[in-house]
Chain length 418, copies 2
């Protein structure tokens, strides 16, 4: 039988995750992993570990031949990329939790892994404690993976939960999330969807072999959701969630987006509340599996980092099977989305660009419509996120083919808006 | 990059799972897996596949050198063991869905895998579509796996759900389950817990390296649950589920059992209704992950079989890491359980064998008590499943240490029962 690799770790970062890791590794000698040196930004604070462990000089870790694993849990994406790429080049395996760094540098990180033959694991970077990367990579074969829908950002989910369950308004909910540590003091990355789309980029790689930059994916956050939208959702007995979705189309390509979406009560994602994350995978034979757990925070993150460290003992690497061993899928724009749009002034809504309009509520103080629109229309234009307009996908929003010409004019006439 | 292995399959069984597999493999040439021959019990029925594919002679598949994978989806455990062991000896990889066969023959199957170096995969045998074996084997390292709690039997969960949500009595619920195909015409294996404990045996192997026979594990089914027990549960705003549980103790050993258990509304397992299965894994840093999906039925089973077939293209094998690469855990009897016991006649309850009794309801028509009892008392005796007695674990039932002598007499005195 294969023997375990003895791991000697150089750790970057000694915040709550780093310190937690240090403690658990100390308490669990059977893991055969010990931290030799810890690189911190500055010596300012008193640390709960022997002073001799610490340095501020990253080279001390990166050039130490005894250190065969670099674990990086810092929150500076640029510094993280420099550390991770040097570590791989220096022949070290790497565990990282930096989603932004991975999303932005994925092509370079793929090349570095190929060139060096070293392993880069980052389960903690998406959905923290939920082993979503490992399952997409190892268990859900390309040909059998119909779709994946997920809540990947805990801050926005916390805020949406408070808005729905406790009737808080957006600002109150955000402040509460910040007080509890579920949202950053600068919440833009979370609230406007950047964090979610970052995670979605590399989850798409493990799911479908797609290597897209974050800005190639259609996304938005929850910043435009209006109190009246929540009221409509409640009336329909639905919730609004920030849903990252990818699904295979009949043309063999993949539709992917991260947008607010109405979610029915019986949808698995409706179960995902507060700071939790959830992933629904629809695989062969159209069966659904649901993975659920904490998606952020020090303990869930440390837990995922530990699982990656444990996997390195067996020389585990991502093979990127969907990218290298299959014909990777392409992102498609050849689809339509059924959307809810609320707005103040109909004049600012280019209603003629909808394929058709199914509902039309012009009497309410906050007006809204439900209609079907080309994916490309949203990808290539910004009117739907300007002028206090909200766009929220309906439940099951993807429509692959429409008979536009027949329906368009008729539906607009019926709606009395042309 | 590694190339795919071309898979030529010999299929045993052409029921709903077998036929579904055949169709999907035909429709998905990129899977590079084709069925060369199908072995059936008899030619009686008309089949939706070319007649030339079928045989009733198992040797035609087992001795065919072209066939490098045997897939076995029959429901005769003895025949399945003969097929699987011959296939491994003949140098073929095997995918099996026979939980009973695997539970009963695990030591022999482990030896056969070691001797032959072939791969035997059986994700479909436990929780069907939920990749629980793969995650326990690959993701949750021994040292980080605190506990695992699961609903692994869909029939009993369906029955319990109907009893709780629709107020059906046990017999009505059972008949409905049978009509919908969620319970066998002979429901004993499901209802009395045999199916659940069978699955638990090999899940314990992948979780903790424990290789116990089913009868070494403390288990019971739902056959003794009384209508009055459900009423008590409802009063406490709890449900009753048949829960398979294993958890690491302070002594380094593992407590494992499959028993009905009260489940709080906020427990992940309360979400698992009808024929669904669910698994809650508590790992490093005490964080919980929840896996949920369909646990039985033709499509979920076929879906898991397909994932195993896909994995064989990459020569995937279970390494049984917890058994071979770690010091395997031992089952412990050194613990106590907090139990609810309802009964007709106090004279038949050996109340002096309880460590202490916390609640005592002697006025109700159906009497019950809540008390703490040694695990070994239940493992070694049968009074608790005789004479119309029900025993149901309370939520969080495991107690590691008790100060018996002080409490015992006092609590019994207080209860007025000695």
């Amino acid at each position: 039988m294969e023997t375990h690799k003895q791991l000697t770790i150089g750790l970057f970062g000694f915040g709550v995750v780093g310190e937690g890791l240090y403690k658990v590794l100390q308490q669990t000698p059977s893991l055969k992993a010990s931290i030799k040196k810890i690189c911190i930004k500055n010596y300012g604070k008193k640390r709960n570990a022997p002073a001799s462990l610490f340095t501020t000089d990253r080279e001390e870790l990166l050039n130490d031949r005894d250190i065969n694993v670099i674990v990086e849990v810092i929150d500076d994406a640029d510094a993280a990329f420099a550390i991770v790429s040097t570590a791989l080049k220096n022949g070290k395996d790497v565990v990282s939790a930096s989603k932004k760094m991975i999303a932005e540098h994925l092509p370079a990180l793929l090349s570095l892994q190929e060139e060096t033959g070293r392993s880069l694991l980052y389960e903690a970077a998406a959905c923290a404690s939920i082993p979503v990367i490992r399952n997409l990579e190892e268990y859900y074969d390309n040909d059998l993976l119909h779709s994946i829908k997920a809540i990947v950002n805990g801050s926005t989910n916390y805020i949406l939960t408070k808005i729905f369950d406790e009737g808080l308004d957006f600002k109150q909910a955000l402040i509460q999330a910040q007080q509890l540590g579920f949202a950053e003091s600068n919440p833009t990355l979370d609230v406007e969807g950047y964090d979610a789309v970052n995670k979605w980029t590399f989850l798409l790689t493990h799911a479908y072999g797609i290597t897209a930059a974050p800005d190639e994916i259609l996304f938005n956050g929850i910043q435009h959701i209006h109190a009246a939208d929540a009221a409509v959702a409640r009336e329909k007995k639905q919730a609004i969630k920030l849903v990252a979705q990818a699904q295979k189309l009949n043309n063999g390509q993949v539709a992917a987006f991260v947008l607010p979406q109405f979610v029915r009560q019986d949808d698995h994602l409706a179960f995902v509340k507060n700071e939790y994350n959830g992933v629904v995978i629809e695989s062969g034979f159209s069966d659904k599996q649901f993975f659920y757990g904490k998606g952020a925070g020090s303990f869930p993150t440390a837990s995922a980092v530990l699982s990656d460290i444990a996997a390195l003992r067996y020389q585990y690497k991502y093979e990127y099977k969907k990218l290298y061993h299959h014909r990777p899928h392409q992102l498609s724009q050849a689809l339509y989305l059924r959307v809810f749009v609320s707005f103040d002034d109909i004049a600012l809504i280019p209603r003629e660009r909808f394929e058709w309009i199914e509902e039309w509520h012009a009497q309410e103080e906050r007006k809204y419509l439900v209609g079907v629109i080309a994916f490309a229309e949203l990808k290539n234009n910004t009117w739907w996120r300007e002028n206090n307009t909200s766009l929220i996908l309906t439940a099951d929003p993807v429509i692959e083919e429409v008979e536009t010409r027949k329906l368009k004019k008729k539906s607009l006439e019926l709606a009395g808006i042309v």
